[in-house]
């Protein structure tokens, strides 16, 4: 084939695919700026005639969107910080500290990856109920404080730390905690950023478990609030698009800012250990 035609074809197909990938997101943004009812016209309008923030004001003033946003932010931030700490410590221990039963335990953790989370949800709900964690942010945060995937990711990365470095510190008389804080943590910084973004996005986008455990509206995260609004306001396309924008924009911005780390983590996590 003529290289110029091939080049045009390949780039044309890429542009086409990109339009399909981005169009729903751009349409969402555009409709969110329309006046109520404007999108339900024939032919369907692509751009607002007069852009307005009416829907956003409505969501924050009447629909409690501010509360959902705050809930999502605090729950996702808490999960990120806590699970980062626990997964880093465990991943490092699996990678660098030889101990009896190390391999067996690691295999058990990997085995957990094969079990779908939904299997645990029903008993977990019954377990959390008597200790007051149902309809409580803790019900979402506590079970997410450690993840088999996070531990796996950190272990993969921490295996690259040279043993000589740790041995030298031990010979100098440094304790294990000191070695971890002074030598290991700084070396693990890149994987910490990766894991932090990954965890935050997963927590932010999570739906099924929060839907089960957060029973009262005042505790809803954005996806729950949005799903319940979508059932009440099925006809208000413009209002719902504004709600979707508020839900999606924070994670998209975070991803765009730190995508290098995110994509590296995705590849690291998918390579078999």
């Amino acid at each position: 084939m003529n290289p110029r035609i091939a080049k045009a074809l390949i780039n044309g197909l890429l542009i086409g695919a990109t339009i399909i990938a981005l169009f729903p997101l751009l349409w969402m943004l555009s409709v969110s700026l329309m006046y109520p009812g404007e999108a339900s016209a024939l032919p369907p309008p692509l751009l607002p005639t007069h852009a307005t923030l009416h829907n956003y004001r409505e969501l924050f003033a009447r629909a409690g969107m501010g509360r959902y946003l705050l809930n999502s932010l605090s729950v996702s931030a808490a999960i990120t910080v806590l699970s980062l700490a626990l997964n880093i410590m465990a991943g490092y221990a699996f990678a660098k500290l030889r101990f009896a039963g190390c391999n067996t335990l690691f295999k058990a953790v990997m085995g957990m990856l094969a079990i779908p989370a939904q299997v645990a949800m029903l008993p977990l709900f019954l377990m959390l109920k008597p200790i007051g964690l149902v309809n409580n942010y803790g019900g979402v945060i506590v079970p997410a404080m450690a993840s088999a995937f996070g531990i796996f990711l950190v272990r993969q990365y921490a295996r690259g730390i040279p043993d000589e470095l740790l041995e030298a510190a031990r010979i100098d008389g440094a304790g294990e905690l000191r070695i971890f804080a002074r030598i290991v943590l700084p070396l693990l910084k890149p994987i910490m950023v990766t894991l932090a973004i990954y965890t935050f996005l997963t927590a932010w986008n999570d739906f099924m478990w929060p839907l089960i455990v957060l029973t009262g509206q005042e505790h809803y995260t954005l996806p729950l609030g949005l799903a319940s609004l979508a059932r009440e306001h099925a006809q208000d396309a413009e209002l719902m698009m504004a709600g979707s924008v508020i839900t999606v924009v924070p994670v998209l911005v975070l991803f765009l800012a730190l995508q290098r780390y995110y994509l590296e983590g995705l590849l690291l996590g998918s390579v078999k250990g």
Binding site: A6, A21, A90, M121, L126, S270
Partner: protein, 292 residues
């Protein structure tokens, strides 16, 4: 020097969380599925009875369970190959030396993956609207009559499949792209000297070299797609005529709407068993293929 105590100190917090909040509930689910845990037991544990495999037996005789399983299998069987095909095509395009602005295209194509399922599902619900939706508007542009995507039991699942492919293809695209980049360039060079066409190069170099990654991507996608829940919950609410009730949707309704937690646990375990068998078969088959 004894490093055991330090190791356990580092491991303990994560191990306790995973043990208490994951392993114990999984075992609990197995026990729960052998009981008639329902609203009465929720009120007073004395009403709880051990029923052995009755829940499983009852499920296997329940048409709605079989329909939910069929819908889920339909989704997996159609959406997984479609997703991977789209991922592979876009990865090949991005890998081509002729492609321009690669970082931009890569980021743009990946963007749907990081979005919140619920939010973009809400968006697609309006795009699929029979009268005002842009999907029908565009189909109308090429002379296709409007499709009642979300109101017709035959079209609701295809709509969800299209949505899932759009949402997820970018993930595997990135993994496959890395796989393509790892294939040594001299292989293609040698093939070109031997006069192999682009298709022959793809068929005899790219595909075999990519096979292990395709298998892994396939297994991950299959197990992810078996867990279909948020999409029908938001887009169709299981309808129309229960045509998009998935196994997990049924589990959710059974457990948290009707409070039949025993029966819902049995559904969860059956799904787990099915997923396990399917992915184990894929692994077995894939390994045999690569040895042959």
């Amino acid at each position: 020097m004894n490093r055991q105590p330090a190791a356990w100190l580092f491991l303990a917090p994560a191990a306790i969380v995973l043990g208490v909040f994951f392993l114990v509930p999984v075992i609990g689910a197995l026990v729960l599925s052998l009981t008639d845990y329902d609203l009465y037991a929720l009120a007073d544990l004395h009403n709880l009875r051990f029923v052995a495999f009755d829940n499983y037996w009852a499920l296997l005789h329940r048409p709605l369970f079989w329909r939910a399983l069929w819908h889920t299998v339909y989704f997996v069987v159609v959406a997984v190959p479609l997703s991977i095909a789209v991922s592979l095509c876009t990865a090949l395009l991005l890998h081509s030396p002729l492609a321009r602005c690669k970082p931009f295209f890569r980021t743009a194509l990946f963007a749907p993956v990081v979005t919140t399922v619920v939010a973009v599902a809400v968006v697609w619900r309006y795009l699929f609207n029979t009268k005002y939706g842009l999907v029908n508007d565009m189909l109308g542009g090429i002379g296709i009559h409007p499709v009642d995507w979300l109101g017709d039991p035959h079209w609701a699942m295809p709509a969800i499949i299209l949505f899932a492919v759009w949402k997820n293809f970018g993930y595997n695209m990135i993994i496959l792209l890395a796989g393509l980049q790892a294939i040594p360039a001299d292989f293609y060079e040698a093939a070109r000297i031997d006069g192999a066409s682009a298709w022959q190069q793809f068929r005899h170099i790219t595909l075999p070299m990519l096979a292990p990654i395709l298998l892994m991507v396939g297994i991950l996608t299959v197990s992810g797609y078996f867990q279909l829940f948020a999409e029908p919950y938001v887009i169709t609410e299981g309808g129309p005529l229960e045509s998009t009730v998935s196994v997990l949707y049924l589990m959710y309704n059974e457990g948290f709407k009707w409070w039949n937690l025993g029966s819902a646990s049995a559904i969860a375990f059956l799904l787990f068993a099915i997923m396990f068998v399917v992915t184990a078969c894929m692994l077995r088959f894939g390994r045999r293929e690569s040895e042959a």
